[in-house]
């Protein structure tokens, strides 16, 4: 077992149990699989990712391997879990290559942090895989939303961790890159045996990438399903508060 959450309560108040967002999460993450967390806005998807990545104080137990996440040092967590957060405003400009290189922070053994040959190789590989080779000397302030997202993904990958956590990775991407990213993530996971935990608001992207699906509602996990055994229309309606299947069918109708 890679990650195990037992009765996790956590939120943004003064203590974890003060007005919690997650209200008793039990979850097991196995190695090499990809998990997609689905649910309506505000149900605690992102908070769950933050708790797993050790960014929030929690009640209950979250273990990474056999160690309690809250006991681990920042660097120890960062060598196991790399997280792609949602894009926030960035005021300072770096080139794409410089920004991706920051993902190698952990591995710098000289104290002035001059990147090694291996760092450079990994960074240029990650840049290439994400289709940013032509853009590597561009200032990130001049990137489009989609390019920025791919730059951040490249940086997350440059951390070379066994677990990757993605918060809405297909946000800001147009259809072409979304499709590319989906197939790229699938391929990459298959080759490398990484464990992937991702939050999606788009069910279709999730179905493309995930093996296992975790459905959340109001801070609790209401259902865990494998892909073959996906929720039916009624269950989805319960979670999203709308007839999801009908909506998707309506969209499809147009393309016939």
């Amino acid at each position: 077992m890679l990650i195990r959450c037992e009765n996790v309560v956590c939120g943004y108040g003064r203590t974890p149990s003060d007005n919690p967002v997650l209200k008793g999460i039990n979850l097991e993450i196995e190695e090499g699989k990809s998990y997609c967390i689905l649910g309506a806005n505000g149900c605690g998807k992102t908070t769950l990712l933050r708790a797993i990545s050790g960014m929030l104080p929690y009640q209950g137990s979250i273990t990474l391997g056999d160690k309690q996440v809250s006991k681990l040092k920042r660097k120890e967590i960062a060598s196991c879990i790399a997280m792609l957060s949602q894009i926030s405003q960035i005021y300072f400009s770096y080139t794409v290559e410089e920004a991706v290189m920051l993902g190698r922070y952990l591995y710098a053994d000289n104290f002035l942090g001059i990147p090694s040959k291996r760092d450079r190789e990994i960074v240029s590989e990650c840049i290439e895989k994400n289709g940013l080779k032509e853009l590597k000397d561009r200032q990130i302030s001049s990137l489009s939303g989609g390019q920025m997202q791919r730059m951040l993904l490249a940086r997350t990958m440059a951390q070379m961790t066994p677990i990757i956590v993605l918060d809405e990775p297909t946000n800001h991407l147009d259809l072409k890159y979304r499709a590319e990213l989906e197939s790229f993530l699938k391929e990459w996971k298959k080759d490398s045996g990484h464990t992937l935990i991702a939050v999606f608001h788009d069910i279709n992207s999730a179905i493309e990438i995930g093996d296992e699906f975790i459905f959340m509602k109001e801070g609790q996990i209401v259902s865990e399903r494998a892909k073959e055994n996906f929720l039916d229309g009624d269950e989805l309606q319960e979670i999203y508060g709308m007839d999801v299947k009908l909506y998707m069918k309506k969209q499809l109708l147009f393309w016939k």
Partner: protein, 341 residues
């Protein structure tokens, strides 16, 4: 940006620094030539004989009055813009500075207490005034950080900025009350707050130089953390930066630098805000370059501003803070809009 271009630019800044310092030393109410300057410096440093042309009074003007003043301005500017660069990166806000964290308000209050109690008049007061400014400035920042950490476990930037501003306002209110209660000292207090480098001696230069170099030396070890922090707190944690600890350390070093500058020169605004911005426009945002270049450019900027303040309306001096703003604003606007892609 190619590496060669970067190196050329760094070299260019170094040349500018040396030339500007020479200019600042030569220019003043008594104008000296570069030759005279070189002669006097080599006389003082290496004991080389003075030629007949050199005036003995010029030796004292240059060595005892002007050079300490120029170097004081240089190191104060360097310290201020270093701390500005750090504050902006750590708080992820291009408008942040140590003054946002309450250093200036605290330092003013400390100085005011010393002036009003009359302790500044004694011989003891010669060092007491800067020490009180320094101590009170740092104490304010410490309180801001402590309260922010207490209220907000993760010490988010907005919490820090908010507490910095609230504390500044609170301390300023105390200062206002103090000064209305003893209006006879207001003049002196205002002069202190406006900032000046007049009457500085080599001992001041030494103190400032040591503080600035120590601060700069410590900061350079954090250059990657600073880079990472500009991307936000969550990404920084995910990359492996222990954000709360590093943030506290960096804020402490930056406040120390501002405190050192403020306590010897008074409150001079604008350098800490503008210079790092200009440096980032020229060199990009990597802090391994931004930090040393901010230091040089900030020093040069302050030395030049001080030169203008003492020469433009000589023999009267205008406050150097007014000069930094009046030169700085147009330069800033020009660079900002020119450098935009």
């Amino acid at each position: 940006m190619s590496k060669n271009k970067q190196i050329r630019r760094i070299f260019f800044i170094i040349v500018i620094t040396v030339l500007s310092l020479a200019l600042c030393i030569c220019a003043g109410s008594v104008l000296l030539s570069a030759g005279e300057m070189a002669e006097i410096i080599s006389y003082k440093l290496f004991g080389k004989q003075l030629s007949d042309a050199a005036n003995v009074s010029n030796v004292s003007i240059l060595w005892d009055i002007r050079m300490p003043r120029v170097f004081c301005a240089f190191f104060a500017g360097a310290a201020l813009s270093l701390s500005g660069a750090v504050m902006q990166a750590v708080l992820q806000n291009p408008l942040a500075s140590s003054y946002t964290m309450g250093v200036s308000a605290g330092a003013s209050l400390g100085a005011a207490i010393v002036i009003i109690t009359g302790a500044a008049g004694s011989i003891f007061g010669y060092f007491l005034l800067p020490a009180a400014g320094f101590g009170a400035g740092l104490l304010t920042v410490f309180l801001v950080i402590a309260f922010a950490a207490k209220i907000d476990r993760n010490m988010h930037n907005n919490t820090l900025i908010l507490f910095g501003m609230v504390f500044s306002l609170f301390v300023n209110a105390m200062l206002t009350i103090l000064s209305t209660m003893s209006s006879e000292h207001v003049q002196r207090l205002i002069m202190w707050q406006m900032g000046s480098f007049s009457g500085k001696r080599w001992v001041h230069v030494a103190a400032l130089c040591v503080c600035t170099l120590i601060g700069g030396f410590l900061l350079i070890f954090f250059h990657r953390e600073l880079d990472i922090m500009t991307f936000g707190e969550e990404p920084a944690m995910s990359i492996g930066v222990d954000i709360k600890r590093k943030k506290t350390m960096l804020l402490a070093i930056a406040s120390f630098l501002t405190g050192a500058a403020v306590c010897f020169s008074g409150i001079i605004g604008f350098v800490d805000l503008t210079v790092p911005q200009i440096v980032r426009k020229i060199f990009g945002s990597k802090h391994s370059v931004v930090l040393p270049m901010s230091m040089l450019l900030g020093g040069v900027f302050m030395a030049l501003a001080d030169m203008v303040s003492r020469t433009i309306m000589a023999p009267r001096e205008i406050p150097v803070g007014a000069v930094t703003a009046m030169i700085g604003v147009p330069v800033f606007v020009w660079i900002y809009f020119k450098g935009r892609d």
